[in-house]
């Protein structure tokens, strides 16, 4: 079960990080991109946020596997079987990306526009503006939403059990099935998840306190 927990946490962390990258790119695309980019991103976030994760995970899993294998066969390579952890990370990242796009978009919108204008006035390149001004400034606005997303990422890893990945919930089910002590094992797994979320809560509160150091409290 501890191995399962570690796997769960690894997948959650990977998915969250990759989702963040998608989120930043998506938010910038939604705010600064052309019409087509914006609408494509709108479509992506709307669909992902209104279709159940379980269904999405199945679709992304099968479609992704087909797509990559299609590309591989087109280049004359052998088909590959997917490493469970990598597939899980990618699948969950697609889901997380949509949510973090919205969180980060909201956070960027709540940065006083003068700050970004000032960066332009100093002759900063867009990339430098993003790195030096936009990202640090959006942190206090985005952190509550992002810490929420991290919790969701952790709980969503349980859904991968349906696909048969050996993460915490799946391992627990197997253990419970062999020993017939369903109640004990599920309670124990619940305790592990709870511990992980409570620790993350503590951590995110610390982080928030650190990130909002320079922000006036209203």
């Amino acid at each position: 079960m501890l191995v399962g927990l570690m796997r769960s946490l690894t997948i959650a962390f990977g998915a969250f990080a990759l989702g963040l990258v998608i989120g930043v790119a998506g938010a910038l695309g939604k705010l600064g991109g052309g019409g087509a980019t914006r609408q494509a991103l709108d479509l992506y976030t709307t669909i992902v946020r209104s279709v159940p994760e379980l269904v999405l995970i199945l679709i992304v899993y099968f479609a992704g596997a087909d797509l990559i294998n299609g590309v591989l066969t087109a280049f004359g390579q052998e088909k590959i079987d997917f490493n469970g952890a990598v597939a899980g990370i990618v699948v969950l990242a697609v889901v997380q990306g949509a949510y973090s796009t919205e969180v980060i978009r909201g956070a960027i919108l709540s940065i006083p526009y003068g700050q970004i204008e000032a960066a332009h006035a100093y002759g900063m390149s867009p990339w430098l503006t993003l790195r030096r001004v936009t990202l640090p400034a959006l942190l206090p606005f985005a952190l509550p939403g992002l810490s929420n997303l991290w919790l969701i990422a952790m709980k969503d890893t349980a859904l991968l059990a349906v696909l048969g990945f050996g993460e915490l919930t799946q391992v627990t089910r197997q253990a419970a099935g062999t020993t017939k002590a369903y109640f004990t094992f599920f309670i124990a797994a619940g305790g592990m998840y709870l511990l992980a979320t409570m620790l993350s809560n503590l951590l995110s509160r610390r982080l928030e306190a650190w990130a909002t150091k320079g922000v006036a409290h209203v």
Binding site: D42, S50, V51, V55, I59, T172, K180, G190, L194
Partner: protein, 269 residues
């Protein structure tokens, strides 16, 4: 004149804005109609409708029951005595801190394996019900909704300005009357937008019950997938179904919140 042109231009822009998704959907629909197999629809149609009914029923029943539970859970955390507030707080933390899938499995497999050990449960009249899967699905989803909503209501109750409550007391309203006429309606209005989002999340949680053998619309799609070896068609179909359901939920809540706003406007005059 200028103003009208601006409005017209705005409308035009909105039209092109909504056009692309429609075009994308149309292209996908045409592709789906031409390149995919839909002949299984005839065979599975009755089952799909039954599954859809189950999904809708689960969302409606569990959100209503959950809401009824959530109001006291939120309330005791704001005004309740400590021995009520602490368990409510713990309940919210535990439910929100563990995956719903795990909760459902705990209830179904865990409780389900504990119950048969007690003869008096097995001999009671409830046993035929407890042997089925849906009570566990109902309980799990209701508790989950109650915990998330309890948190929402806690914030909503807290957010009502204290002056309003003081004013009610000054009018000589009793505690319960204040709650019914002032506190609850205002908290409800505050919670409304969040409730809409949470109910969509509840809709998105329903396919999990398929893993404990309740036949909802998702499990029908999974069945189609296993029996016909078609991967994308059933999944796309239920995607569309869930999107439509989400739109319906949004509409219902927009109408509800519009109504409650009218109410307050009426009372103000």
């Amino acid at each position: 004149m200028v103003h009208r042109e601006k409005v017209a231009a705005g409308r035009l822009r909105m039209d092109t804005g909504t056009l692309t998704p429609i075009v994308a959907a149309a292209v996908l629909a045409i592709y789906a109609a031409l390149r995919m197999r839909w002949d299984w629809l005839g065979d599975y149609y009755p089952l799909l409708v039954r599954g859809l009914g189950m999904t809708v029923l689960l969302v409606v029943v569990t959100s209503s029951l959950g809401m009824l539970l959530a109001i006291p859970i939120g309330l005791v955390q704001v005004v309740g005595p400590k021995w009520l507030a602490l368990p409510a707080r713990a309940f919210c933390t535990v439910i929100r801190g563990t995956p719903l899938l795990l909760q459902l499995w705990l209830l179904y497999y865990g409780l389900g394996s504990l119950f048969p050990q007690f003869p008096w449960i097995r001999e009671s009249g409830l046993w035929p019900i407890l042997r089925q899967a849906w009570p566990y699905a109902l309980l799990g989803l209701t508790l989950s909704y109650a915990a998330y909503e309890g948190e929402v209501f806690r914030g909503a109750f807290k957010g009502v300005p204290k002056g309003q409550l003081d004013a009610a007391r000054a009018y000589g309203m009793s505690g319960f009357l204040t709650f019914r006429r002032i506190w609850l309606p205002q908290a409800f209005r505050r919670a409304m937008p969040t409730l809409a989002g949470e109910t969509i999340l509840q809709l998105k949680a329903t396919p999990l019950v398929a893993t404990i053998t309740v036949v909802d619309v998702y499990s029908v799609a999974a069945q189609v997938r296993q029996q016909t070896y078609l991967t994308y068609e059933p999944l796309l179909l239920i995607c569309a179904i869930y999107i439509v359901l989400a739109v319906v939920i949004t509409r219902v809540f927009t109408r509800l919140s519009g109504k409650s706003r009218d109410n307050t406007a009426f009372r103000k005059t």
